[in-house]
């Protein structure tokens, strides 16, 4: 069993008899309010997508699906094409299948694709990915604290807050569990 707050995009859980893909998971806690997890989930049995909310300590049956190592080739018109590293077969996943994972996918990236009843249903992200900053306002080299953030756009189009010392063209490590900046790589 896993608590809601431990789940993240790309995980699978079983609720009743239905298997659900977590497409997006956001932790929220403010003041005295109970911590809650807002999750966008896709029911793989009937294909419906729901925006749902749980207490952070709600318990889920997490399910591990079969995985295949595949390389992300390209995206076209919302279809994401992956290639099996052993058979070289190509498969497609939609933006809905991938959820927040599209924020971190870059071409040539090798990643685990989960399959359910022999059909690909989602991807399992590594905890951290390295991505290039394609645009951010010029940095302030004097500020090394990292406490103050400025907006930055990454090569996947994802936007996040980075410390003032980060520059365009630099590679940073991003935490896929919460979408936040972890550290500068080079």
């Amino acid at each position: 069993m896993k608590e809601a707050q431990e789940l993240r995009s790309g995980n699978f859980v079983k609720i009743g008899n239905d298997l659900h893909l977590i497409m997006n998971a956001v932790y929220n806690k403010g003041g005295r309010n109970a911590a809650v997890m807002k999750m966008k989930m896709k029911n793989l049995t009937n294909g419906s997508v729901s925006e749902t909310v749980y207490k952070a300590n709600d318990k889920f049956n997490q399910v591990s699906l079969d995985k295949k190592e595949m390389q992300f080739l390209y995206e076209q018109d919302g279809a994401y094409t992956f290639m099996d590293q052993e058979t070289f077969d190509q498969i497609e996943l939609t933006k809905d299948d991938l959820g927040d994972a599209t924020n971190y996918l870059k071409e040539q990236m090798v990643i685990n694709v989960s399959t359910y009843e022999d059909r690909p249903v989602g991807v399992e992200l590594p905890i951290a990915v390295e991505l290039e900053i394609t645009y951010t306002e010029p940095g302030n080299k004097g500020d090394s604290s990292g406490r103050v953030l400025k907006p930055a756009t990454l090569e996947t189009g994802y936007e996040l807050g980075v410390p003032l010392f980060c520059e365009t063209g630099e590679i940073i490590r991003v935490d896929t569990r919460n979408g936040e900046y972890m550290e500068r790589v080079r």
Binding site: G16, H20, G30, G31, K38, Y54, K55
Partner: protein, 374 residues
């Protein structure tokens, strides 16, 4: 389930409003683990073992929930979890669980309002209900609070009489102080020297202790209508006994200024339309700051001038001990009470009409039981 006067008071208020707004067509049971606190709020003595029906509401100790026949609609408040047995035994009877959270104006809370948790079982479905000030949030409870009096002077006189107090106290400006922690000295000094006579009502243990400490040092101890009080210049500080919920609500509606805390008294102050300052429940490392900031942001559109908005914003930040609020300027606040009242009373009218929590909850439940919630 609850361990604070605010939580117990909010639960009791919801029961009263559910019963009242439904025209007493529904049966309301309140399971609670702190009957003493609830008893103080209702103004009766409640024993921890017995079943009581008060004002049409059945009150039961939390421990009995396990063996109680399940209800069609269950409202969980403040993160309490009904016992597993209750849910298992009631799986065929319970149709809807509402998880009623604390008040918040934060965007995420509004976004979570009426979102479903898929962790229901069999036919049971569970939804999150988030109180707040946004029309798309769950709103705040207003039905059980007194209407704005047409003649405040008469209403004040009548309230004072009902509490056995001298009606001529009506002529004094009324400030209700119900805070977590507040540096009262500058306020009391200002009021003492003001031209107008002021009566400060010290409510709640923390607030009374703080007032006792300051007043005992600086002011003359006296009695007003049989109640302990302190007096200096034009300022009298009164330390009344604990007031049951309706008495407290009525006082809140009659003040010139309320200094409130937590959730229930904040909602009362908002609905009264009277000027107020609010202290959020303080948490370590300023975790409560976004709650205060989002509250202030949600009030931004109500102000008729930027200077009034700034006064309220700065005063609220300072009242919550955030450094960027600067020192509290009590003189400025007192001078601008009529302006603050004008804007806040307009806002109170709008809250009553479009942000009534219990109405929203009943509307949602009705739609649910009519099969309209897919």
């Amino acid at each position: 389930m609850v361990d604070h006067f605010g939580d117990a008071g909010t639960a009791w208020r919801l029961c009263r409003e559910l019963l009242g707004l439904s025209g007493k067509k529904i049966r309301v049971r309140l399971f609670i683990d702190d009957l003493n606190t609830l008893g103080s709020i209702i103004g009766v003595s409640l024993s921890s073992h017995e079943f009581r029906e008060i004002q049409g509401i059945e009150i039961l100790p939390w421990g009995l929930l396990d063996s109680d026949p399940a209800a069609e609609l269950v409202v969980e408040m403040f993160g309490c979890d009904p016992p597993e047995n209750y849910l298992i035994n009631g799986a065929t009877d319970i149709s809807l669980i509402i998880n009623l959270d604390y008040f918040s104006c934060e965007a995420w809370a509004v976004d979570c309002h009426l979102r479903e948790s898929l962790l229901g079982r069999q036919g049971l479905r569970k939804f999150f209900f988030m109180p707040g000030l946004d029309p798309h949030s769950g709103g705040i409870m207003s039905t059980s609070r007194p209407n704005l009096p047409a003649d405040k002077r008469l209403a004040k006189e009548s309230w004072l009489k009902a509490q056995g107090l001298e009606p001529d106290l009506e002529a004094m400006g009324c400030i209700l102080a119900y805070t977590y922690s507040c540096e009262f000295r500058p306020l009391l000094e200002y009021l003492s020297a003001d031209k107008k006579p002021w009566l400060v009502w010290g409510m709640g243990n923390a607030c009374r202790e703080s007032l006792n400490e300051i007043c005992g040092y600086q002011m003359r101890k006296t009695m007003v209508s049989g109640m302990p009080a302190y007096q200096k210049g034009n300022c009298t500080v009164l330390l009344p006994p604990f007031y049951p919920q309706p008495v407290f609500d009525a006082l809140l509606a009659l003040t010139e200024l309320s200094l409130v805390r937590g959730e229930d008294s904040l909602c009362g102050a908002l609905i009264s339309g009277n000027p107020f300052l609010w202290q959020a429940y303080p948490q370590e490392q300023g975790v409560h700051r976004p709650k205060v900031e989002s509250f202030l942001k949600s009030l931004d559109p109500i102000w008729s001038s930027e200077s009034l908005a700034k006064l309220f914003r700065d005063s609220t930040m300072a009242f919550n001990h955030f450094d960027d609020g600067g020192p509290l300027d009590w003189e400025k606040i007192i001078i601008h009470l009529p302006d603050l009242r004008m804007d806040l009373s307009n806002f109170a009218d709008s809250l009553r009409s479009i942000c009534n929590l219990t109405e929203k909850l009943l509307q949602f439940s009705t739609l649910f039981f009519q099969g309209e919630i897919k």
